[in-house]
């Protein structure tokens, strides 16, 4: 299939960049190429990865979600509030976190579809609102004292960190869903040509609502995972996480205009950002230069990728 071909090309260009960066890092440091470090990278990218998968859905519908970071904080706080030891079963805080995220996402979706307000404005509003709510609910203080059952979510299962398993599961499900489900294809159709989709009987509003809601749900998951990892519901956590997530998705070839993009691309984008962050730290590059180098590699990678995909 042609979609596959083109994705392979995309994939190939990015893979090449990741490979080159990886090779350089293996030569330049003696720690990059180790199981321990790979586990580290995997663990470090998992939260951004979950967010990126979620926001891929929204971007595919030609929307955007700037509220990711704040909603991560809000869901983390919500989750932590119900996670004090001995109060509730471990499922309660998890459900609360997921629910909070999904609710925020659905509110975004409703405002976008029923309200007809541009996604940029809606989610920018939600970004401020969710941050404010996180501070209000927590009284501006980190919500600590979380039960061990919940913080165990940041631990390992069969030697693999649970956040990594979450990320992998989410990514695999999203990949399968977008390819093989009717709703998945409708997401592409809505993003590709909203009027055409509507004229063909695609329930455009429901599709968008689903995308925002799902993105919110996954953001809630990221919030829960982050809270478990840092054993706190931190009301000021997740600053600018949306930028890293959206960057990963766009690097992975998803168009901000909607209708084009894949989960595999998103994964590669997440991986590239993760490897750069990890590698530059390993090499001990000063953080000021890190910023410059990271910017250059990201733009360069996308440039190479698109050039190569075009040819």
């Amino acid at each position: 299939m042609h979609t596959l071909d083109r994705n392979l090309l995309h994939r190939f260009g990015l893979l090449l960049v990741i490979f080159i960066v990886g090779l350089a890092l293996s030569l330049l440091t003696d720690t990059f190429l180790s199981v321990a470090n790979f586990t580290n990278v995997a663990r470090q990218i998992s939260i951004n990865g979950i967010l990126a998968v979620g926001v891929t859905f929204v971007l595919l519908t030609a929307g955007v979600d700037l509220s990711l970071g704040s909603v991560v904080a809000l869901s983390g706080v919500a989750c932590a509030t119900f996670a004090h030891p001995g109060e509730h079963s471990v499922f309660v805080p998890i459900a609360v976190g997921l629910f909070t995220g999904a609710a925020c996402g659905l509110v975004n979706g409703v405002l976008v579809t029923r309200g007809g307000v541009a996604p940029f404005i809606v989610t920018l509003g939600m970004m401020t609102i969710a941050r404010g709510l996180a501070l209000i609910f927590s009284g501006g203080r980190p919500v600590a004292n979380m039960s061990n059952e919940l913080t165990a979510l940041a631990g390992d299962l069969f030697g693999i960190p649970i956040p990594v398993l979450c990320f992998a599961g989410v990514a695999a499900a999203a990949w399968f869903f977008l390819r093989n489900f009717r709703l998945g294809r409708h997401i592409y159709a809505v993003g590709g040509n909203e009027n055409a989709a509507r004229a063909a009987g695609v329930p455009v509003e429901k599709v968008k609502l689903f995308a925002y809601g799902l993105c919110g749900l996954l953001t809630g998951l990221a919030g829960v995972v982050l809270a478990a990892r840092i054993t706190t519901g931190q009301p000021n956590a997740g600053q600018a996480y949306e930028l890293d997530a959206i960057a990963a998705v766009v690097i992975g070839g998803t168009s901000l205009a909607g209708g084009v993009g894949t989960i595999t691309g998103t994964l590669l984008g997440v991986l590239l950002i993760g490897v750069i962050n990890n590698g530059l730290d390993l090499m001990g590059v000063s953080s000021y230069y890190q910023a410059v180098i990271k910017g250059v590699i990201i733009v360069g990678a996308v440039w190479l990728d698109r050039r190569q995909a075009r040819s």
Partner: protein, 491 residues
Amino acid sequence: MLRALELRKDFGGLTVLHPTSIDFLPGEVHALMGENGAGKSTLMKIVAGLYRPDGGQVEWRERYTEFTSPHDALVAGIAMIHQELMPIPDLTVAENITLGAEPCSGFGLIDRPAQLARAEELLGELESDISPTRMMRTLTVAQTQVVEIAKALGRQADVILMDEPTAALSDHEVAALFRAITRLKARGVAIVYTTHKMDEVFRLADRISVLRDGRLVGTAPAAELNPSKLITMMVGRELADVFPVRHSPSDEILLEVSGLTREPAYRNISFQIRRGEVVALAGLMGAGRTEVVSAIFGLQPASEGQICLKGKPLSIRNPQDALAAGIGMVTEDRKGLGLIPALGVGQNITLSALCDYGRGPLINHSAEAAASESQMTEFAIKATSPSQPIAQLSGGNQQKALLARCLLGGPDLIILDEPTRGIDIGAKAEIYALIQKLARAGKGILLVSSELPEVLSLAHRIVVLRRGSVSATLDAAATDQETVLRHAMPL
């Protein structure tokens, strides 16, 4: 079975459809005729659930219904082929055809083999060889239209509204569509058919309704009408011969194209256009006509070959170069390469020639307004004002606005790619007259058209393309449709 009852539609305080009632019967082809902007598409869109009426009702199977979305209408059994092509560019042909009605195997999982089979079946019904796995983006306009038709046929609807389905098609596909329509009729499907092609109406329609300025002029069985009667109903007056007489061109060569090549689309294309001459590029769909003229206009430069205008060799890398050299073009892809939807009609018209209306980098607003208004009058463009966003105009009026844009700069060579697509018969006659007038004024005209009668009566010479190569150059006065087709058909 389906009945429009006193349907009315307003846009921004302007009534574009006055209360109109029409009955549609099963197994009947009901043609909806009228000039550009008469309200045909508006009526159909209301019935298909895309617009909400501002008055009146739709009666469906003896019951009043209000469709709030196309989804409702489709579920009820009403499908529509839209005048405006609506591809989802990054999905496959099969996915576009089955959009909204994907064959599923439980849980909303798409049954891919069934989807492909369905698409093949529908395309087969239209005798098209488009591969269902191709990306929609790679299709030509005509192929896109075939897919749109297949999409509507696939809905198993009891009513199919067809809004200018053949506007971009050539004879071969049109014939296939007609055969499909005959089969649908036999199954008892009601067809509502809108077109600007007179011959089609009389080949297909059982009854004809005519709209003028948003009002129903009348409904009559097709057998009771003839083309001139119908035209009188549509236009409100009689129309003289549509095709004006040709004038003989001068001997001065205006354009000389030699050895133009860009594999795999076309190769070794050579022809000349003299001042005052109309040269037509004919060929089947996908023969590469659009690509050749795109190269001359710099939209997609050729890899080899030479273009000489007025004896001077040109190197055209983009449309800017072409415009500067005195070449203008009306593109085939109105929406993709023509309209700036949010800008007003007037601003769309003056876009290419903006330098002529101002001093230095500044725009002289009154000069610009004067220019756009005179163009709008000259081309009889129906719009509330020059600042009405062009996206709100009817398809035919959009096309006229683009023609007006092309001619405003006063080019020597005018390339017209399907210029009369979607244009009503009256306006067509005006455009034909205009083409002859331009020719008389010493311009050269390169015409691409899928309508052979148009080609035969307008052009002096016909260059026939077959799979990207010139298969013949014919003298229009001394040839006929069969000869052209014979040269166009793949061997």
